[in-house]
């Protein structure tokens, strides 16, 4: 078996709270192979974005830090790298697009300049070549009339177009990994589908591995090869997409899936009731306790769940961190 492109081993990220250090990511391990799409799923505050920022080396200064664990990229540990080494990787070999296309571009520079800048920085291109390449990239992300739009400012573009520009920036240096942090949350539904199509096509063309952070289960089913379900900074379940969605082995995954409404062929057909996951995520300060953090919201929970952290149980390629995994 070939070495995975990215290997996260026992990662622990701590946030400095007034009450002390609290782990927002606790003992996370996962692998990403070249060219595949891995999806992170979970509700807000479960640590999806923190993991992404940790990989980029962009954890908020003086607040978040990697306490232990390794992030191996091409065999090198990014957790130990200094800022100069990280900067050479950022935007070049690993790049990222964000949730808010409306505010993620700098309002005082043209989109062309913002694309060309990365090329000059990482590929050593001169001004003219970088600008010409920026036009090609705008064309590749399907912005009509790229030649004239390249000198447009962000405020002259729509949200969907701005996200396309962000994708162009992210893919400019043909990175090995693209992290997309809820890339379509702020966009309307028709544009969402276009952006997902674009990400999938470009990912396939360039062989870029994609980490897709989302809570859109539909997008996961359509885009991803494997998925990681995260809860309260811990991995709840992970494995290939179809077994996890068709037969979840963790009550949280099951709850998430049953939250998604289904389109039915017949409007008159009786719909299954939509359920919700009751309760809320426990407070950040209690993330470190030795127990199943989902226990307070789980129907199946017993004393063992509340007093011991569950280990991962394997069902083929599918892994679940639940004491009752075999009962689900």
């Amino acid at each position: 078996m070939t070495e995975p492109l990215l290997k996260i081993e026992n990662l622990r990220i701590e946030l400095a709270l007034r009450s002390g250090q609290a782990p927002v990511i606790d003992d996370l391990s996962l692998e990403l192979n070249a060219g595949e799409t891995l999806s992170f799923v979970g509700e807000s505050g479960c640590g999806k974005s923190m993991t992404a920022l940790a990989i980029m080396g962009l954890l908020p200064e003086k607040v978040g830090s990697i306490a232990s664990g390794r992030i191996l990229f091409d065999g090198r540990d990014m957790a130990q790298m200094n800022d100069t080494e990280l900067r050479a990787i950022r935007g070049n070999e690993i790049s990222m697009i964000f949730q808010e296309p409306m505010t993620s571009l700098n309002p005082v520079y043209t989109v062309g300049e913002q694309i060309a800048e990365v090329l000059r920085r990482h590929k050593g291109m001169n001004k003219r070549d970088a600008w010409a390449r920026a036009i090609e990239l705008l064309d590749a992300v399907r912005i009509p009339n790229a030649k004239s739009r390249v000198s447009a400012y962000p405020h002259q573009m729509s949200g969907g177009q701005r996200q396309r520009v962000m994708i162009a920036i992210a893919l400019a240096c043909e990175p090995k990994i693209l992290i997309a942090d809820e890339p379509t949350t702020a966009l309307d539904v028709t544009v969402q589908a276009q952006i997902f199509d674009l990400l999938r096509d470009l990912g396939r063309d360039t062989g870029t591995a994609v980490i897709l952070i989302t809570h859109d289960m539909g997008a996961v089913a359509e885009m991803a090869d494997r998925m990681v379900v995260m809860y309260a900074g811990r991995k709840a379940e992970y494995g290939p997409v179809s077994p996890v969605i068709n037969h979840p082995r963790h009550p949280y995954t099951k709850g998430l899936i049953s939250c998604v409404p289904h389109l039915l062929a017949e409007l008159t057909e009786e719909r299954p009731d939509l359920t919700e996951v009751p309760g809320i995520v426990p407070a950040l300060a209690s993330f470190g306790t030795d127990a199943c953090l989902f226990a307070s919201r789980c129907d199946l929970a017993d004393d063992k769940c509340r007093s011991q952290r569950p280990p991962e149980v394997a069902f083929g390629d599918q892994h679940s961190a639940c004491w009752k995994a075999d009962q689900i």
Binding site: I89, G91, L105, N106, P107, E117, R121
Partner: protein
């Protein structure tokens, strides 16, 4: 084409504003007690009521208010600001003699305050918890709180008397002979203390504002994008953040330019700087109405030009301003 239209529009506004300033200034001076006749009478060593009335007829002061007002505006439009009976010189000549000194002082102080203020602001925003940050804050507040004439006198005692590095007063030394370069150097030497005094107030404003603006910008999404691109700290701060933090500073600098001009009046008195400020002070004490009106007119003109320049700079910095001007 677009910028030409905007500029034209702004110039028309400026002309209207200037006319309003003229009317207001003239009315205020007119209704204030004392007039040119008093000045002339005083210089003659006193006069009886009959002579006073004669002087008033001679200078058109017996005419109704509106006749005088329109006559005054008509004269200003033909670039005639009147004649100073106190200095026995045309007002225009008097002002053009003094204006360069004031502009030199005010513009240098303004530029110094903006540049150093922004640099200090950027620095302390980059290191919000460092010791240097507290130093910048204290220094800025001190400059802002201290009265200008007090700062000026303190600097004079310190750097002219105790440590004689700089001259005590004036703009140039008559004993200095030489070419343009030597004279410019002499003026620069005389300028150091007045400029430092005048800019100390504004330095505080600009450094506090640019610090706040930088802190806000540094937390924004596009800065995270810039970092995610792998750019250096220097590029992130100076290219991506600073340009976005500048507009509020430029706006304030434009608004404060009139304050810089009026601050110059005090500084000129402390350092005997031969500028408009000193002239204004003397002519107010002497009730030299034409000169006061002339100075007010030119101050308004300078402030209007300052604001026009501010708008142009804003367009240069922020493309969104260009969109809907």
């Amino acid at each position: 084409m677009h910028i030409v239209m905007t500029l034209l529009k702004r110039l028309i506004y400026a002309a209207i504003l200037l006319t309003a300033v003229l009317v207001l200034n003239f009315s205020m001076m007119h209704f204030a007690p004392g007039d040119v006749a008093d000045t002339i009478a005083a210089s003659m060593g006193g006069a009886d009521a009959e002579t006073m009335a004669q002087i008033r007829v001679e200078y058109g002061l017996d005419q109704p208010f509106f006749v005088q007002l329109f006559a005054y505006i008509g004269r200003v439009l033909s670039f005639d600001l009147g004649y100073s009976y106190f200095y026995n010189t045309p007002v225009t000549e008097l002002i053009f003699e003094r204006l360069p000194a004031t502009l030199l002082l005010a513009i240098t102080a303004q530029v110094l305050a903006v540049v150093v203020g922004v640099l200090l602001g950027v620095f302390s925003a980059r290191h919000p918890n460092g010791i240097a940050n507290y130093f910048v804050t204290i220094f800025a507040l001190f400059g802002y709180a201290a009265p200008v004439f007090w700062t000026g006198i303190l600097l004079l005692i310190g750097f002219s008397l105790k440590i004689p590095l700089f001259p005590v007063a004036g703009m140039s030394d008559v004993t200095v002979q030489g070419g343009f370069f030597v004279k410019a150097l002499d003026i620069a030497h005389h300028m150091v203390l007045p400029v430092l005094t005048l800019s100390s107030i504004f330095l505080a404003l600009y450094s506090r504002l640019s610090r706040a603006a930088m802190l806000e910008v540094l937390g924004s999404d596009y800065i995270r994008t810039a970092k995610a691109k792998g750019l250096s700290n220097r590029e992130v701060t100076l290219k991506h953040a600073l340009k976005n933090a500048l507009p509020p500073v430029v706006t304030l600098a434009g608004l404060q330019f009139s304050a810089v001009i009026s601050g110059a009046v005090l500084v000129e008195s402390v350092f005997s700087w031969p500028g408009l400020g000193q002239l204004a002070l003397t002519s107010i004490l002497a009730r030299d109405t034409p000169t006061i009106l002339g100075i007010l007119f030119f101050s308004a003109l300078v402030v209007i030009i300052g604001n026009l320049v501010t708008d142009l700079v804003m367009r240069l910095i922020d493309p969104r301003v260009r969109g809907h001007a």
